[in-house]
Amino acid sequence: MNQANIDNDLFAEQRIGQAIRIAEAILFASAEPVTGKMLAERLPDDVALDAVMERLVAAYANRGVNVVRVDDAWALRTAPDLGFLLRRDAPQQKKLSRAALEVLSTIAYHQPVTRAEIEDVRGVETSKGTLDLLLESGWVRMRGRRRTPGRPVTYGTTQGFLDHFGLAELRDLPGMEELKGAGLLSPRMPSNFAVPVPPVDGDLLGPDEDELTDIDLEELGLLTPRVTED
């Protein structure tokens, strides 16, 4: 490597160093996640945002404050392991009711989802004050309309939802892939819905399984998924 190359590298390093400082200052100033687009506009033209953010994420990885991605945006957040020290100053948050939480997770996992579909999943009408509370909290939004007769409004989650639950994207929802794979995120029972084949040998059934019913299950064809004989 000759001197010119070394100088070039040094110069590039200075440029990226300054870009990192700028990104850092912007993220520090903002309580809300800042979009990549907004960040890119403030950085020097010849610096790639991805490279800057990668370095910034690494620099803060073990600090008391971390750089996290929220959808297409970035934010600085305190490290989760220090929460117990900071919590005492934080105002108590209102807890979500069990129903509201269930509606929220149904919307998160099934979005875009109509109200009728939410009610089908939960088997109960959504009580008044649940959806509007979630809309008001800023975690849920109306996304658009379904292209089916009646054009029902569809619901989805917001960036605020991702931010609140520490998710970089919807794919990070816990168990998302397994649930999808198991067909449990479909509005209707999938034709290939996996009903595991229970043991054929009756002796393998657990002791508490015998108490299920006094009706002969084998006769009803409920134990084995074989097609009922006519």
Partner: protein, 280 residues
């Protein structure tokens, strides 16, 4: 125990019930005799709770046993003369119908979904509800902003291009609209008296039940069986009959009666993909 609940969680999550603000544990942990139906989030929740008590994987559950337990539960509640939401009764009626289908061998000329198929759909719905419930528990146990993780305490305004100087969310907009329209209309609002089954109530129930069964069935009889007051029974039969005429006119329902005073059978009017080869 439940074999679906091994997701490889690092930390043992707090049981969701304990995190819910209004967690009324009665009905969830206590014997079924102490009935607080309000503690359940509807009939499917109750069914899931009963299924859980069978202590097996949901796929291996006995739907017949489950139906009997549910119906038994509803009977107990009725014996105590507690008022039950219509949804619970609809489910009881439907389960009684499903049970009869499962117990009676399938007829050669019978159309529509078999009892086994309907039972599989029920299992699917129970599994899906349970999955969402577990997902909710995992979600609420995450490191949450404002509780475990914190944002900048002293944010500063950024020199960003802001073409809009006003802020308002779609929710603000819709809430403002609804509130003012409601305020204007409030003088005319009338609260309908309960006690009889209105045409609309009966119609809603029929649509839901017919949609679920998908074939000839005497739904109103199933339903009436689960009403405590004879007067309510009459009211329901009358309303559901009138509502069924309305639904027939709209082509949403077909009815059949084999003779005078015989049960009136109903089924959906629109031929659905599964109903090929209509015999008429």
């Amino acid at each position: 125990m439940n074999s679906t609940r091994n997701e490889g969680e690092t930390a043992q999550p707090v049981p969701a019930e304990e995190l819910w603000a209004d967690a009324k544990t009665q009905g969830l942990s206590e014997p079924e005799l102490v009935v607080d139906v309000a503690g359940f989030e509807g009939p499917l929740d109750l069914l899931l709770h009963l299924a859980r008590n069978q202590k097996v994987d949901l796929s291996q559950i006995s739907v017949v046993a489950l139906a009997e337990q549910y119906i038994g539960f509803i009977d107990q509640v009725r014996a105590m003369r507690l008022e039950l939401a219509a949804d619970y009764l609809v489910m009881a009626a439907w389960l009684a119908f499903l049970k009869s289908k499962l117990l009676i061998p399938k007829q050669r000329d019978e159309e529509g979904e078999s009892g086994e198929e309907l039972a599989a759909v029920l299992q699917f719905r129970l599994k899906r509800l349970e999955a969402m419930r577990e997902a909710a528990a995992r979600l609420v146990n995450r490191d949450r902003l404002g509780r475990d993780v914190f944002a900048r305490g002293a944010p500063e305004a950024l020199e960003m291009d802001r073409s809009v100087t006003f802020e308002a969310s779609l929710y603000d907009l819709l809430a403002a609209y609804a509130v003012q329209r409601q305020r204007q209309a409030v003088s005319n609002v009338q609260i309908a008296a309960r006690g009889v089954w209105s045409l609309q109530d009966a119609r809603d129930l029929l649509v839901r039940m017919v949609g679920r069964s998908g074939q000839w069935s005497a739904l109103d009889r199933f339903l009436a069986q689960y009403l405590t007051e004879p007067a309510q029974r009459r009211s329901l039969l009358a309303s559901s009959f009138a509502a069924s005429l309305e639904l027939i006119r709209e082509g949403k329902l077909e009815v059949r009666q084999d003779g005078a005073f015989e049960p009136i059978y109903m089924r959906p009017g629109q031929p659905r993909p599964r109903l090929v080869g209509d015999v008429n």
